[in-house]
Structure formats: structure tokens, C-alpha cells
């Protein structure tokens, strides 16, 4: 537990020095201004749709990039290899990063919901919103972690980023024109996460055990893949 807290403290410190919190606060402010400007007079329904969409885009696109850039920096400094010979369970290195990014995402989601939906309305939908945010945050952070470990530099990471974010964001763009939603979208897991996140803002709970079993397994499998990529990186030459 002590090692985990040491790692977590260091990760938060890296996030502060990388100005992640500053960027998140800036996004929160910009999104809020944008939402309030767009929906003025258009009612709560459109406001919730917009908040859901922006929250999804922020977590899917920005967090993947942030965890990736932080890890690429650590890889470049060579410190990942130093952790390989430190006396703690190596999976804590990954768990502390996931925790740091998850906590910051939950805080962001809570802030965005509170600022835009209002205190009373936000309180009712908050648990469901945070649950769906956590699912998306963990998946994107694990994808970012795995890519940063496997890919050599920021150039390769940027290429992977473009592909993964485009894939993850497809449901949001398709949702703008519901008549054009094709059947194949059901095979895109991000479609289901996006739908559940959106539903959470309206207090609709239609996700069953299959959804949670699939996302749980997805997170588990991605954790193992990210961990394998981490072990591979530790064993590499200098």
C-alpha cells in the first residue's frame, strides 16, 4: 500500500508538471461556456445531450493522449526500467496511473455535470454518470498505456491516436444523424458506452449484465495486455 501511494503521489506530481490539471480546468470552463451559449433557451434535454457528447469526447480523446504523453516521457527518461528493479509489485506502476487518471476524470465529469445540469438535477444522475465515465476512462487509459509502451516515439503514438480516437468517436458523429445509424455500429463497443453515458444523463438504466460483463472483461483483458507491454518495455535494451 505504501508503494502504491508513493507511485500515486509521483503520478499526480507528473500530471501537475505536465499541466494536465490546468488543461482539464481550461476544458471545463470552455465546454461550460460553449454549452451555456448553445443551449440558452433550448431546454434541459439538449443541454444533457451536449454535456454527454462533450464528456465522451474529452475522456476518449484527451485522456488517451495525456496518459500516452506522460508514459512516453517516462520511457524517454528510462525510468520505466528503473522501476523494474524496485521492491514492489510491478503491476502497481500501471494501477497507480490508472487511479490517477480515473480520479481526475471523475472529478472532471462531476464538475461538468454540476456546472451545467445544476446542483439538484446533477445529484440525481451523478452516480450513473460517474459509473459510465469510469468505464470509458479505464478503457482509454489502458489503451493509451499499452500504445505508449509498445510504440517507439510520439510520431508513432500520434498515428495510433488518430486511428483509435476516430474509432472511439464514430458513435458521437453518427448520433448527429440517427437515421444514418448503420447496423454495424452495434459492433463498435464505444457505441454502447456512449449510449449508456448519454442515458445516464437522462436517468435511463437500460444496460444489463451483458454490458457490464463485456466492459468488465474488456477492461480485464486490456489490463493484462498493457501489463504485458510494460514487462516487454522493462526488458528492452538501453
Amino acid at each position: 500500500m505504501r508503494s502504491f501511494l508513493v507511485l500515486l503521489k509521483k503520478d499526480f506530481r507528473m500530471m501537475v508538471s505536465g499541466r494536465f490539471f490546468l488543461a482539464a480546468a481550461g476544458s471545463l470552463l470552455l465546454y461550460t461556456l460553449f454549452i451555456q451559449y448553445i443551449v440558452s433557451g433550448n431546454g434541459l434535454t439538449q443541454l444533457k445531450v451536449l454535456v454527454g457528447e462533450l464528456l465522451f469526447i474529452e475522456i476518449a480523446a484527451v485522456r488517451f493522449l495525456e496518459i500516452g504523453s506522460m508514459l512516453l516521457k517516462e520511457k524517454q527518461m528510462g525510468v520505466v526500467r528503473v522501476h523494474a528493479v524496485m521492491p514492489f509489485q510491478k503491476r502497481l506502476f500501471l494501477l497507480s496511473k490508472l487511479t490517477a487518471f480515473l480520479l481526475s476524470d471523475l472529478l472532471f465529469a462531476a464538475g461538468l455535470t454540476m456546472l451545467n445540469a445544476g446542483g439538484l438535477e446533477a445529484a440525481g444522475i451523478m452516480p450513473a454518470v460517474l459509473l459510465q465515465t469510469a468505464v470509458l476512462s479505464l478503457l482509454m487509459a489502458l489503451a493509451g498505456f499499452g500504445c505508449a509502451m509498445l510504440l517507439q516515439d510520439f510520431k508513432q503514438f500520434s498515428a495510433a491516436y488518430a486511428v483509435i480516437v476516430a474509432y472511439a468517436a464514430v458513435p458521437v458523429f453518427m448520433a448527429q444523424d440517427p437515421s444514418g445509424v448503420a447496423a454495424w455500429i452495434n459492433w463498435n463497443p464505444f457505441y454502447h458506452i456512449y449510449r449508456e453515458l448519454k442515458n445516464a444523463f437522462f436517468g435511463i438504466h437500460c444496460a444489463g449484465w451483458v454490458y457490464y460483463a463485456c466492459t468488465g472483461c474488456g477492461i480485464g483483458v486490456m489490463f493484462l495486455l498493457a501489463q504485458a507491454a510494460f514487462y516487454k518495455e522493462m526488458g528492452k535494451e538501453g
Binding site: E74, M77, G238
Partner: protein, 283 residues
Amino acid sequence: MIEVNNLTFSYEKDRRALRGIQFHVREGEIFGFLGPNGSGKSTTQKILTGILKGYGGSVSLFGQDLSAGHTADFFAKISVLFEFPYLYTNLSAVDNLRYFSSFYPKSQLRDIGEVLEKLEFKKEFLNKPVSSCSKGMRQRVSMARALITSPKVLFLDEPTSGLDPSGAVLFRKIIEEERRKGTTIFLTTHNMLDADLLCDRVAFLADGKIAAMDTPKKLKEQNSSGRVAVHYLYEGKRCEQTLEISELETGIPFVHDEIISIHSMEPSLEDMFIQYTGRRLNE
């Protein structure tokens, strides 16, 4: 302390990095592992430090078979100095050392300031980000990271690389001090001077196999020609003669006015390496 038997390792099916190497390192010994790039030095060190798994043969440290897994207790007893100074460049030297040492039991930690002072780390850089330090200063912080946890086995990979001559002398002095404290040291290097001056025994590694292993002195003696070169002055001229050592038993066997120098024609450790492996260390 370290026991390695018939160690084999392959990165891919047809790429064998280690081909059945065998050695042991005694407690408190400095053991040199010498070889050119790609000879298997780093692979062996990674297996010994628990980074690489899936090897053949057996490896034990502290009397414990490593195939059984690596506990936090195992990692708390070893330290590794990597060839490059791997540090958080946005943190200061002190913060780096505080961070890395916080994973170890407090009872085995040495004082950060004291260790850095011993390594002649410049005081004005103590609280500045490591990115503002020279390579030599960064290497000192890395060495401090390795020493601060009072390891029982210290793995050093090219410890004097990136240091100026006075820095290299200082590091050798510190390595000697660690040995006197009873620390076992596994030294991986290209640097023949480091190996010759520091190591109790050395192993020459080439193509994943140990070609020779003994004390540097014995390796040189075994292959010595038993001759000396004598430089002298005679009637104002500078002359040279090569003699068998036995010829010197009764004094200098030729007329001369003044002896300038007598050089043993003992081969260097590098000559021995080439003789045993057919390769140069910097290949």
C-alpha cells in the same frame, strides 16, 4: 552469493543470446563480466536482476532459486546502476533519491546528503532539476540511487562511462569501499582498466559463452611470454634488449652505463580477451 548453471536464453527461436554459461560469485567479491556488444552481458544481468524470465538452466541469488519468482524482499537486497543515468529529469537530485528510496525499508537507507557528498555532487545542483546537470553529475545521482539502499548485491553496468578521469577514479574508490563493507559486486563493462583495477575475477563472454574465467593477474600470467624489455644507456647511446626473466636472477647480464627502464612483457587484459575470444571488446 550468485550461482549460475548452464544458463541459456533466446530472444527468438533462432536468436540464442546465451549458450549454457556457468559461474558463481562469492560474497564480497567484485566479479567482472566482460564482453563486446551483443555478447550476452546485459541479458545475463537482466536475468540475475529478475527483469528477464523464461531462461533455461538455473540461477540462484542469496541461495534462493530465481525461477521460484522474485519477491519484494529480493529486490530490496539488490541495486542496479544502469549504463545511462535514468532519472526523472523534471525532479531534483534530492527528490529523485527521495522518490526511489521510498520503496525500501527505512532501516536500510543511507543519508541522501552524505552519499551525494561522498560522490562529490555539486551542492548548487542539489535542488535544481536533473535536466540542468551534466552527464557526469547525473551519473553521480544514479550511483547514489544504487548505493543509498545499502544493497547486498550491487550490479554495475559501465559505471565509469560518461565520467571524466577524476570522476572515474572517485567511482573506483567508492566501489572498493563497498567491497570492503562486504557488498558483492557484479560489474559489466567494456572498460579493461576498470576490470583490471577492481575485479577479483573476470569472465570473458563472447557469443553467449564464457571463453575464460579467472583473476586478471592469473589470466595475464598464464599467457605471459616470461620476458622483459630492458632500456639502457651505453656509451651515450640509448639501447634495448629483450631477456628471459630467469636471465635477470644474477643481475643485468650485459654491459651498460645506466638502466632507464625494465618493462615486463606481460600481456594486457585486452590482449587476453582477444586471444580467448578472437574479438575486440569495442567491436
